[in-house]
Amino acid sequence: MGNAKISFKADFRLNIKRKCESRNTRPRVLFSIIFIILLWALSVEARQEIVAVQSSRIAPYEEALKGFKSVSNAVVSRLVISESGGADVVKELRARRPDIILAIGPDALSLVKRIKDLPVVYLMVLNPHTILSQEENITGVSMHIPIERQLFSLINVLPDIKTIGLLYDPDKTGHLADKARIAAAINGVVLVAGQVHNSGVVPSALMEMKEKIDVFWMLPDTTLITPETIEFMLLFSLEHNIPILAFSEKYVELGALMSIGIDAFDMGAQAGEMAAAILSGIKAHKVAQADARLAVVSINQQIARKAVISVNQKIVHKLNVPINEKIMGTTRIVKRGTINEFKFHEGLQ
């Protein structure tokens, strides 16, 4: 979009110069020329095409795409892998040669990373470094929210916490645990971290730390998180009054105290801005890969009210988007808001 605007300005100056030289041209002709040039400029911009590749049409991807389209004036067409009927998506992309390929989700990114000659912007990918290997045509927004920010938010919501429990699979989220240790040390909180190598030991590992922790920090680790372990963690939280910090609002609705998660729409918008920069002529490798700029804090008010440990009610009140959801016949009220709405957001950066 930025590129299109610059082109428009250049042509406009040329025409003005010509008009000035003629000195006899009537204003009516001048306006006609301007109109034609404007149409041309718009048509040039419209020809810029972005193909969004996504594995399936799930709601978060759709939301992210909406956010992307909200800041992009390019023509965005969509290619859903699950609906391609086995067609070679990469081959099709190469044939179409769009200006940018938008990869939504890890599957799409894994697929399109083979294309080296077209710029690729990804989003809705948690750990892009596990998929990518220094490709210069690829940039994007990860779902990762810096662990320090998460910890800071947690400490602000629960100012009295002294110890935080955390389980992790060293092969998957070991790096996050390391960062969490450092962040905890900086913030004067004790981190009780336990390693697990399979889901089956999660209950026993969690039970072992029940006397030692004030809050449990749930990391996005597929070894840790299974339907059974989630259920156990929530029951554990309920039985032992140990609040859970989760990474997605869906766990807050199930009974976790709070979550610090992404905003798919904003992430789409963030990716859209990256795409605009690339369309304006900036090389993709010049556009730095980034983490999600916006974190959404969700707090389960009912759990907050029942929590033994004190909850900072000022923050709870500041969350301005109530979500009422009926689960098992009871209404659980979850309030959410972006981290930027907090007074302390500067400290999170």
Partner: protein, 503 residues
């Protein structure tokens, strides 16, 4: 007892209606009970099976975490929760390989199906089936139901990104992580059925008692008017006075009562007419007998006074003629003497005829002696052996009654001579209470009394009818007993006080 009941059953319409209604109600009740029990057995069995599926489903759901982590502590609560159900005898939780993680058995339970190698082999087949079916499986044993269900886990997150999204956005891929089984006791069904049967019998008994009461009232309602009709008919048959029956309904029974009342009225009217007619006949016959007696008396007087005097005069004249005849007219003298003897015989016959026509002996000797005289005279005339036992009954009856009694006695003896061909006659006259009972019995050929009754009046003859009429006139009764070849007995009973009746 049985005969009495059968007799009552056959003869009593109320009992018949009651018994039939009771049998009908019992039959209906038994059919309904059988249907109800059968239905309840099926319902209870279905309910137990449904409960078993539900419990094993709950157990499978609640034990997911425990099975997943193979953590026995986490299996305690789900297993105990299901095991607390009364009917549950055994709870088993296994992992995917079939290893038993948790097993609870009700103490004291006899397990005929102990785990054997074959059973374990069967279980392996069962687990294979469960894996394939993915839903609960029921195995029915002799005393128990076994419910088995695979323990399913939901999503298995393949990517970390999926952890952020709601599960409904992701493709669901269930997988089996273990198996749970419960054994439910069938005896609880029997207990519930027994309770149900007891309640059913209790209700049925009350229902039967109520129905029996209703049946009794209904049968009584039907038979009461019929009984009244029956009593009325019986009373009519006996000739008693019958009151009008109440007509309570407009149905067939009511119409029958109306018809009966109309018939009763008609019969009573006829009865009155008949009695009047009888009365008239009786008066007439009484007058006839009276006239007969008067005529006999007149004839007796005529015979005695006129014919007797004339014959006496004839005898005197014959004696006078005889005296006047000469000695050489010996033949005439002899004829006259024989004629004179013949006249004497005629005079004697006339006297006897006069006495028979008008028994002056009654006046002269009294009833007792007159009867004796009659019997002795009768015995002289005929070759009978007569046994006579007569009490003194003089002064007990008026003259008219005495004449009637004498005549009845006379007719009885005449009938024996005419018809009986008897050899012995037994006569007794005695007082019983306030009655005098005359019994005349012979050992003659007898006769068929029913045949005599069924004969027409013209064929009957007048003897018995006259005897009965005279008995009625003296206020008594005349009973006749006879059988062919067994003789005849005539019993005349006359009240002493009621000596009324006029000839």
């Amino acid at each position: 007892m049985n005969l009495n009941f059968m007799k009552a059953f056959n003869e009593n319409f109320a009992i018949k209606v009651f018994v039939k209604l009771a049998v009908f109600i019992v039959t209906i009740y038994c059919c309904l009970s059988i249907f109800f029990i059968h239905n309840q057995r099926k319902t209870l069995t279905d309910s137990l099976i449904h409960k078993g599926h539900l419990l094993v489903g709950i157990l499978a759901h609640n034990s997911r975490i425990g099975v997943f982590s193979e953590n026995l502590e986490l299996l305690n609560a789900p297993a105990d929760g299901v095991f607390q159900q009364d009917a549950v005898l055994q709870v088993i939780i296994c992992n995917l390989e079939g290893k038993v993680l948790k097993k609870l058995e009700r103490p004291g339970t006899y397990w005929p199906e102990k785990q054997t190698t074959a059973d374990r082999k069967n279980n392996r087949h069962l687990f294979a089936d469960l894996k394939q079916a993915g839903s609960s499986v029921l195995r029915e044993n002799r005393d128990t139901f076994e419910f088995w269900k695979p323990v399913m886990t939901g999503l298995h997150y393949m990517q970390e990104e999926a952890l952020f999204f709601r599960d409904e956005y992701l493709q669901r891929r269930n997988r089996i992580i273990g198996f749970v089984g419960i054994t439910v006791d069938k005896k609880i069904l029997s207990k519930q059925l027994n309770d149900l049967l007891f309640q059913s019998i209790l209700i049925g008994t009350l229902f039967l008692l109520l129905s029996a009461g209703v049946a009794y009232l209904v049968s009584r309602g039907i038979t009461r008017p019929l009984n009244r009709l029956t009593d009325g008919v019986k009373a009519l048959g006996k000739g008693s006075t019958v009151d009008m029956l109440p007509v309570e309904t407009d149905d067939e029974i009511g119409k029958l009562a109306q018809a009966f009342n109309a018939m009763t009225q008609s019969l009573q009217a006829r009865e009155v007419e008949l009695r009047k007619s009888e009365e008239r006949l009786r008066v007439l016959s009484s007058k006839l007998l009276q006239a007969q007696e008067e005529e006999r008396k007149r004839l007796a007087i005529e015979l005695h006074d006129e014919l007797g005097q004339d014959l006496a005069l004839l005898k005197l004249r014959l004696r006078s003629i005889t005296r006047k005849l000469a000695e050489h007219q010996a033949a005439l003298i002899k004829d006259c003497q024989e004629t004179s003897r013949y006249v004497d015989e005629i005079i004697e016959n006339v006297r006897r005829l006069s006495r028979d026509l008008s028994p002056s002996v009654l006046k002269d000797l009294g009833l007792t002696a007159a009867l004796r005289w009659q019997v002795e005279n009768f015995a002289k005339q005929h070759s009978f052996k007569i046994s006579l036992d007569v009490q003194d009954i003089d002064h007990l009856f008026s003259e008219d009654v005495q004449i009637n009694l004498y005549r009845i006695f006379q007719e009885t003896l005449t009938n024996i001579v005419k018809h009986a061909l008897a050899k012995n006659i037994f006569i007794t006259v005695e007082q019983q209470n306030r009655q005098i009972v005359f019994v005349v019995e012979d050992d003659g050929k007898g006769f068929d009394l029913n045949g005599l009754i069924s004969r027409g009046a013209a064929d009957k003859g007048m003897g018995l009818a006259t005897m009965r009429e005279r008995s009625y006139m003296v206020g008594g009764t005349c009973d006749v007993w006879s059988k062919p070849d067994r003789g005849t007995r005539i019993t005349l009973t006359v009240p002493i006080e009621n000596t009324g009746g006029s000839i």
